[in-house]
Amino acid sequence: MNNKKLLHKTTNSFLMYAVIILMTAAPVFYYICQWLYIYETDEVLLFHKGDFIKQSHQNYTADDIAAWNKYNQNITIVADMGVRKDSIVGKMLFEPEANEEEPFRILYAPVDINGKRYTYIEKRNLVEMEGMVFSVAAMFLFIIMILLTGIIWISKRLAATIWKPFYNTLSQIQDFEIDKNNPPHFISTDIDEFYRLNKSLERLIEKNTAIYKSQREFVENAAHELQTPLALFQTKIDTLQQLDLTREQSELVTSLNNDVSRINRLNKNLLLLSKIDNGIYPEQEIIVLNDYIEKHLDFFTEQAQPKNLTITTNLSNTLSIKGNKALAEVLLNNLFLNAIRHNVKNGVIEIVTEDSALKFINTGPEIPLTEQTIFNRFSKVNPSSQGNGLGLAIIKKICDISHWDIRYSFNNNLHIFELTF
């Protein structure tokens, strides 16, 4: 991703525009100055000529003209060169004082003195103009620099002030999580667009949080409400099985019994998930996982008996972690029962504690599970299994809210669930 900041984008465009305008303006400015200067020079030349005629220089004799020519460096009267009307040309002439060629404007004009036609020639040095152009250019550069630093400085300042509420909003939205109870608090702003943005976001978040909350409560309420019909169901089955049943009827009642306890388990798990979602397990304490595992090993060994599983433990590292005790126990129970449930006959379960990790390693079907989906709710590898597809989702949820990490891997035909703290 090569994303630029909004501010850089606008500043860059401004800078680009300014530079282009100034760059193109510079030569144009130069030529206009030059043209103006030449125009003014030409005006002066024509003015001088008009003055010459007005001063009645028509009365000059040939000697006067020679004398004029002798004392006037810039204006010379020469014999008619065939000039019909005033004409001005630009020419490079050698300037002895500067010892180099310099630009001149030269006026050729016909004048009549004592009835004889002469040509009036006046030249003016343009060298002063070069100096002026240099000063203009220097000034121009100076202005460009002031302008550019001004633009950069102002836009930087704008970043700090005008965009502040925007970036504040942005970072709050980034941190926002709908399942955590931390609604964003946008800072107030006097910029209409940002104000509207904040208001819309607030409304959006409020509405979605409300929907999310009612959805969560719905799950919890639904699960609670189901308890009563389940109780009816259960008590009636209990009553039914006291009757004198035929073999066929007994089998039906047994399977009903299994069904109701399955629904019950599912319901309890849904209730647990929604309770975790609703954050009713806030208490944190230090839990020694080894103690819990050792204490309940008998129970799980008993559960593993029908499959004749061998459970080995290597609990040499003491795992003392901080978290909610009830949830940690649910987590361990689920991991343990998971390893039993998905095991094969005469399989093994190995529980290993490491520095800050706990591993449940078990035999099972010799195909790896897909890590991406196993932790999803109701994702069942074996659709006919008695599990309700919530066990791993609960494990994941507990890890998420406790900031632990659960990973699955498949190695040497062994399924490994690794919990890191």
């Binding site: 008590t235 019950n264 304490e285 009830a326």
Partner: protein, 258 residues
């Protein structure tokens, strides 16, 4: 999941102790004279409990609302009250308060669909003796109730006698014709559960859930009880007891006098 946090353990301990007191002087005199009140707005649940308990000689009265419950509590003394917390015209907790204010000593078992730590704690604080979450097995309710009444009526006797079998509750010993049996904790628990539900067909799930306590909600396989049943049966018969544990094909087990 029944466990909710550290405090929960305390509650669990209370109900675990109950299980050890599970049965009170079986079938001889206690059950016969027992009279309990079922406060439950679901009429059919109340009826099921009533029917199940009746065959064990327990007399049940029912009340499906708050006002009727108060009237009945005022008029009679019960051995035990089964209390649903959500009633159409009132709160079950108010009934507990009422009992307390009238210095009534009835044992109370809350049976509620609502299950969370706060409800439990409040129930216990208001004087309830046990808490059972719906749905429950009738067999479980029966032994919990027997245990409760046993504790309430305790008058020095602490043994359960079934023919040649004697269970000493406090010392947790079982003798058959004065021969001491070496039972595991689970086997003792199972024995008390079976005797307490004499003549009742107990499903595997009811037994499994009773034996696994707060882990019950997670178990999807109840086969582990076979081993316990088998061992208990063997130990009892080897000690010369009658074979009271009957296997009901497909369904489960039944404790039955031969």
């Amino acid at each position: 999941m029944r466990r909710e946090d550290g405090l929960e353990n305390k509650i669990q301990k209370i109900s675990y102790t109950d299980r050890f007191y599970s049965v009170f002087l079986q079938n001889s005199f206690v059950n016969c004279n027992m009279k309990i009140l079922i406060i439950e707005d679901e009429r059919e649940i109340a009826q099921s409990i009533q029917a199940y308990f009746k065959t064990n000689g327990i007399q049940c009265e029912t009340a499906e609302n708050y006002n009727l419950s108060l009237t009945k509590i005022d008029s009679y003394d019960y051995d035990c009250i089964l209390l649903d917390l959500m009633l159409p015209d009132g709160d079950g907790f108010d009934i507990l308060k009422e009992l307390k204010s009238k210095n009534k000593t009835e044992g109370v078992i809350i049976i509620s669909a609502k299950e969370n730590l706060e409800t439990r704690l409040e129930g216990f604080n208001l004087g309830a003796d046990d808490f059972l979450t719906k749905p429950f097995h009738l067999a479980e309710l029966l032994v919990r109730m027997q245990a409760l009444i046993r504790r309430k009526n305790f008058k020095g006797s602490n043994s359960i006698v079934f023919n040649e079998i004697v269970v000493e509750i406090f010392s947790k010993t079982v003798t058959v014709n004065d021969t001491k049996l070496d039972l595991t904790k689970k086997e003792l628990d199972l024995l008390l559960f079976l005797i307490g539900n004499e003549n009742k067909v107990l499903s595997k799930s009811a037994i499994a859930e009773h034996l696994s306590g707060d882990m019950a909600d997670m178990l999807d396989n109840h086969d582990f009880i076979y081993a316990h049943i088998k061992n208990l049966k063997k130990k009892l018969t080897q000690a010369g007891s009658g074979d009271y544990i009957k296997t009901i094909y497909g369904l489960g087990y039944k404790w039955e006098n031969e």
